[in-house]
Assembly symmetry: C2
Homo-oligomer: 344 residues x 2
């Protein structure tokens, strides 16, 4: 392989390790109590004001009123990272979502407004720009609570200042496999960041997916937060690539065997639990990154990881019981992986 091809391959590996980038801004309105002390009619007022503010925008937003949405649809929104667990349980809230599901505003969650941009890949700067643009638009119509010395006021003091939380979702199977993940999780806190397993608890990192996010919002410019997360993420990416190299040379055909068998199971199973499917998909994602799998792209795997979630099964495939969810998931995966090949 020549130098250019090698560099391009490395770039693809880096891209594959970063599943998505997310930025959210917490904003509150000057003339209202924070949502936890908000009257029902005031909550409605705020929702209306946000809606009006969006009307003149060049992007269409769908409004979902929490009090009117059913549990299953809320589960779906939750799995697609469009609302929080708290929002799904909050009758006062609403969420506005653009058509691509990349830009959204949660209204009356912990803060009056939570503006969020969620993009595939390492595009935190773009995500920040999207949030910033929408924030500017809303600010024309809404009177934000802002103090010169404290920045944007927020319901919880940990969000004061920029009101910004930025995060990157990364796929780190080799670091998990080799037991190198714990120091990474621990060291991040020393520089004001957090790295957490996205699914599962304790030492069970389902799907080997992690979230890198900032812990501090006050005393930094937005750009500094973005740069700091992108910097640490790039370091973690290089560590994962190195760990994958070691894993390949250490396990050789045994690693090929493990990944290839996942393909076999995904192409043949008739019932599959969510955690099991996430772990197999994680292996396939690694296989694609290593150039061992053809017939499916890394981006498709990222999308499938959302599609296999229970709520998605319920909404997209009308599953009505746990068994139907698990068989629906298996059917979906079988269809997708039927023609995917392991080339070793």
């Amino acid at each position: 392989m020549n130098e250019n091809a090698e560099a391009s391959k490395l770039e693809d590996m880096r891209k594959s390790i970063v599943v998505s980038s997310r930025v959210r801004l917490a904003r509150n309105l000057e003339d209202y109590n924070f949502p936890n002390k908000l009257e029902a009619n005031e909550a409605k007022d705020i929702i209306s004001k946000v809606k009006e503010s969006l009307d003149g925008y060049d992007i269409n937003f769908n409004a979902v009123i929490m009090a009117e949405a059913d549990m299953l649809y809320k589960e779906y929104l939750l799995e697609n990272h469009l609302i929080s667990k708290e929002m799904s349980e909050e009758a006062k809230g609403a969420v506005f979502i653009n058509e691509q599901n990349t830009l959204s505003i949660m209204v009356n969650e912990e803060d009056h407004l939570r503006i969020q941009a969620l993009l595939p890949g390492l595009h935190m700067d773009n995500a920040y720009e999207m949030c910033d643009k929408l924030d500017d638009l809303l600010e024309k119509n809404l009177r934000y609570a802002f103090r010169e010395n404290l920045g944007y006021l927020t319901s919880c003091p940990t969000n004061l200042g920029t009101g910004m939380r930025a995060s990157v979702m990364v796929h780190l199977p080799a670091l998990v496999e080799m037991g190198f993940i714990t120091p990474i999780l621990e060291n991040a806190t020393q520089i004001g960041l957090a790295v957490r397993g996205l699914y599962g608890e304790g030492t069970q990192f389902i799907g080997s997916l992690f979230q890198v996010s900032n812990q501090l919002t006050l005393g930094f410019k937005e750009e500094e937060i973005v740069n700091s997360i992108m910097g640490i993420t790039r370091q973690i990416i290089e560590k994962e690539i190195e760990a994958e190299r070691i894993l390949v040379s250490k396990l050789g055909i045994v690693l090929q065997d493990r990944i290839s068998r996942c393909l076999g199971i995904l192409a043949t199973s008739r019932v599959m639990k969510i955690n099991e499917s996430m772990n197999y998909l994680s292996k396939i994602k690694l296989g694609i990154r290593l150039g061992w799998i053809t017939g499916i792209s890394d981006e498709e795997i990222n999308r499938i990881m959302i599609k296999v979630q229970p709520g998605n099964q319920i909404i997209d495939y009308k599953a009505k019981s746990q068994e139907q969810i698990d068989t629906g998931r298996a059917n979906l995966l079988r269809t997708i992986f039927k023609d995917v090949d392991f080339v070793g």
Copy 2:
């Protein structure tokens, strides 16, 4: 399904449960010591005499002299049930084998002659006929040690009388799965038969394969032994069929899932150990029996169960190390199961 189709389906299930039938006759020559006290030149004499006796026969036999055969080839013969473990370690011995590997004579194992017929399916009567015919032929040239009151004399008193050991290999996955196998193993001894796991020890019944054989050789006619084994085998077959019915109705799609996944793993693995492959093949055999798998026959699975054995890998695929055996096995299975489908 009408009555005829139902009956024909049941008959196919019964056939699939019986992998093979085997009969062997122990014979000794009047003028020689038993093999354990045999001089090298006497052993050679006996081999020559058997060879001469076979020359006039209408079947061609290949002779393999143990002292000249290499370890790997002996391993191969062992796995194909053509020689015993003891024979493979015995320099004085030889084996004569017909072209189909169905009829053989071990010379100078525990007894001077061990005539064996091994046929696929429940064909113990045919196997007995083949042995009997060959026995008659040999008796024309060889002076067998026979006493009116004891029958054929044998090196070990447990073989006295008919000198006959008959056995059936049966596949009992549902009885194993449901924990119904232990009483069957125990009850057989009460009627002078033995049912034993073919591979593995203790409660690990690899591949769910069992051997039903007679324990008593004296005081019964050959036909009685054959009938007794065929009788108990038929009972075990019906028990297995009943257990499979229960398993299907109890596990439903979960059983389909297990079997379908085995297919996926067999079609994709890159390294596979022998016991693992036997257990997967056993599940596939059950799947074929239940009508859930197309593109491969039950007989082929029986043949593959022999082909995956280490010695076969060495002989047929020239494997030179444990890793090559395990990758060669995986490659063979991948090729075979690539186009096999689960139809549920």
